[in-house]
Symmetry: C2
Subunit: 350 residues, 2 copies
C-alpha cells in the first residue's frame, strides 16, 4: 500500500493509474491511499468542463491539454460519465493518444463511470483529483459527458468551471434548469463558425446579465471581499466592485481557434480567485461538504450493518406490526451503542 | 407524561390536542408519547386527500366527515400545509365547526404546518395519525393543502389516497410531474357541474390507462398476490387478475353530490387491500421507511453534535486546509466511538 503511494509520489504513471482504478472501484485500502496523498495536494489548478453532448467538450479539452503541454505544464484529464455504468477507459483512453498528444504521457487521461452510486461518483471524482494533484500535475481537467444535475455536482470539484454551449442549440433553458448557468465561471460558444453562433452569444449574454451575483460559483469569496471593502472605507475601493463577470469565449476547437482566448479566460479567473480569497473559500466549502457527505455515507452504512446485526429491518418491522415495539424504540435500540459511546446528553432514555 | 397518554386513551379530546401540539412542535417527550401510543394503533382507516389548490378538498372532506358521523363512525382530520411555516390552527380549526359538524367533537380537526424540516413534517404527520388511531378514531383523514412532491410524501401515510382534480384545469401534466397520478387509488373530479368536467374525466381515464400497474400506490401487495397465484396453479384463479383499477368519481362537494359514491370507492379500495394482503404490505413498507428515516435523522444529529464536541466543522476544515489531516481521517475520528461500540469488522483502522 505504502509502495503504491510512494510510486505515485515518485512520478510513476502506472501507480497513478492503479490508484485511480482503486478509487473508481472503491477497492479495499483506497481510503488510506487518498488519506496519505492529501498532504501532497493543493498545487494543481483544477478546471471543470461541462456542457451538453455535442458541444465539443472533448475536442476543446484535447486542444487545451496540447497547448498547456507546449507551455511546459503537466496535465491530467478525468472524463466522467454519470449516465453510464461502464468505464469507458479503453475507448476514451485512446482518444487523446489519437489526438495531438500521441505518446505524451504527461497528458494523463482517464475516464470514470457511475459504477457505484452517483453520490459515490462525485466523491470518487474528488479523490481522483487528489491523486492527480498529489502526483504533481500542474493542471487537472475534469470533463463531464453530459450537462445534468449530476454533472453539476461533479464539476463543483473544480476551481474554475467552463460551460460549453453549442450554437443555435436552443439548449439555454435546459441548461438554466440544470443549474449549469449558475456554476459557470467561463462560457464557451464552440463551433462559433456555425450559423446561429452570434445569436447564442447574445442569448447567453442576456441570461448572464439576469443572473444573480449571489448564485454564481465562487461568489462567496468575492462577496466576502466586497463586504470587507464596504465595511472598511480605508480599504481598496477597487475591491468593492470586484465581482466576477463570466466572459463568453468563442472557439472553433477542431481548428484550434480561440483556444488561447479560452486559456486566458481561465487564467483570469484563477487570478481573480487568488486576489479575492475566493480560492481558499471554495476549498473550505468543498472540504466541509466532503466531510459532511462522508460522515453521512459512513454512518448510514455502519447503522445499516448494526440494524442487520440486531436481526434486520424485516424482523424489526415484524415486531412493530405485532405492536411489540414501535419505530422510535427500534431506532433508539439501534443507536444505543452510539449514544452510550458519545455520552449523549439528549439521550431520551435518561 | 403517562397521565397525558392515559387521558388520550381514555378519550379526552383535550389530551389528544395537547399530544398533537407536542408532536407538531417536537417538544421534549413527544417520542415517548408516540412510542407508548403505538401498541394501541392499527384500527383506524387512514384516508389521504390531495390535489391542487381550488380542487375543493376541504369542502369534500367536510362532507365526508359529516356523512361518516351520520353512520356512527368517529373521524379525525389533519390538514397539512407544507408551504407554510405557520400553523393555521385557528383559521382552519374554525372551518369544520362552521360547516355541517358544528359542536360535534367526534370530528376532531387539526392543521399542521412546516415548522420543522419538511422531512420532519412527514414524520410528524405519521405521528399525528398514530395519536388519532390510538385515540380510537374510526377514520383518520390526512388532507394536504397543495399537490407537490412534499404532499406526495405526506399522503403516503394513508391506506387509501384520493386525488382531487378540478375540471378543465389543465393541471394534469403538472400532477403527473409531481407523481400524484402514481399514488392515487381513487380519483375525484370535483365541481363536476362545471364546463370541462367531462373532458377532464376523459383525460384522466386516458392517463390512468397509460399508467404502469407497478407504479401505483398499494401495488406491491397486489403484485405479491398475483405472483403467488401464478406460481401456485391450484390457487384462486381470480387473484391473478386482481389488480386495482382506480375509479374516477364525479362530485359536486358543496352540494353534497357524489359523496356517497366517493365513500363507496374508498370502501372498495379498503376491501381490496384486505383481500390482497395489500394493507399489511403497505404497513410493512411504511414502517420500514419510517425506521430508516428516523435512523438517518437521529444519527445525523448525533454525529453533528459529536463533530461539534471535537471542535466543529470549521476547525476540521482548518486542519484539512493546512494538510494536517484529511477528510477521510476527520470522518474516521468522528465515527471512532461508534465503530468501537459496534466492534465494526470493516473498521479501516484495523
Amino acid at each position: 500500500m505504502s509502495d503504491l503511494v510512494d510510486d505515485l509520489l515518485a512520478g510513476k504513471h502506472s501507480a497513478l493509474a492503479r490508484v485511480i482504478t482503486k478509487i473508481e472501484n472503491r477497492s479495499p485500502g483506497y481510503r488510506e491511499v487518498v488519506s496519505a496523498l492529501h498532504e501532497h495536494t493543493g498545487h494543481a489548478e483544477v478546471i471543470g468542463v461541462t456542457g451538453s453532448p455535442g458541444a465539443g467538450k472533448s475536442t476543446l479539452v484535447d486542444k487545451v491539454a496540447a497547448r498547456l503541454r507546449e507551455d511546459g505544464d503537466t496535465v491530467g484529464v478525468i472524463a466522467i460519465d454519470p449516465s453510464s455504468p461502464y468505464s469507458g477507459g479503453a475507448v476514451l483512453g485512446d482518444r487523446i493518444r489519437m489526438a495531438s498528444n500521441a505518446g505524451d504521457m504527461d497528458v494523463f487521461f482517464r475516464s470514470m463511470s457511475a459504477r457505484g452510486s452517483l453520490g459515490g461518483l462525485s466523491t470518487a471524482t474528488t479523490d481522483a483529483v487528489t491523486a492527480l494533484d498529489a502526483f504533481g500535475k500542474d493542471y487537472v481537467i475534469v470533463e463531464t459527458v453530459g450537462a445534468g444535475q449530476n454533472e453539476v455536482d461533479i464539476v463543483r470539484t473544480a476551481d474554475t468551471v467552463a460551460v460549453l454551449v453549442p450554437p443555435g442549440s436552443g439548449d439555454d433553458v435546459q441548461m438554466l434548469k440544470a443549474g449549469i448557468l449558475e456554476i459557470g465561471d467561463v462560457f464557451v460558444v464552440n463551433k462559433a463558425d456555425l450559423d446561429g453562433a452570434d445569436r447564442t452569444v447574445q442569448q447567453l449574454r442576456e441570461m448572464l446579465q439576469g443572473r444573480s451575483t449571489a448564485g454564481h460559483h465562487g461568489a462567496s469569496g468575492a462577496e466576502m471581499a466586497e463586504v470587507a471593502g464596504t465595511a472598511d472605507d480605508g480599504g481598496d475601493a477597487g475591491e468593492e466592485t470586484d465581482a466576477w463577470e463570466p466572459p463568453i469565449v468563442e472557439t472553433v476547437a477542431n481548428r484550434g481557434e480561440g483556444v488561447e482566448d479560452f486559456l486566458a479566460a481561465l487564467d483570469d479567473h484563477g487570478d481573480y480567485l487568488d486576489r479575492t480569497g475566493g480560492r481558499e473559500q471554495q476549498a473550505r466549502d468543498r472540504f466541509a461538504a466532503e466531510i459532511r457527505t462522508l460522515l453521512r455515507e459512513d454512518a448510514n452504512s455502519l447503522l445499516a450493518a448494526e440494524l442487520d446485526r440486531q436481526g434486520g429491518i424485516e424482523s424489526a418491522v415484524d415486531d412493530v406490526l405485532a405492536r411489540e415495539t414501535d419505530p422510535y424504540t427500534v431506532v433508539d435500540e439501534v443507536l444505543a451503542p452510539l449514544r452510550d459511546s458519545l455520552d449523549d446528553p439528549s439521550d431520551p432514555r435518561e
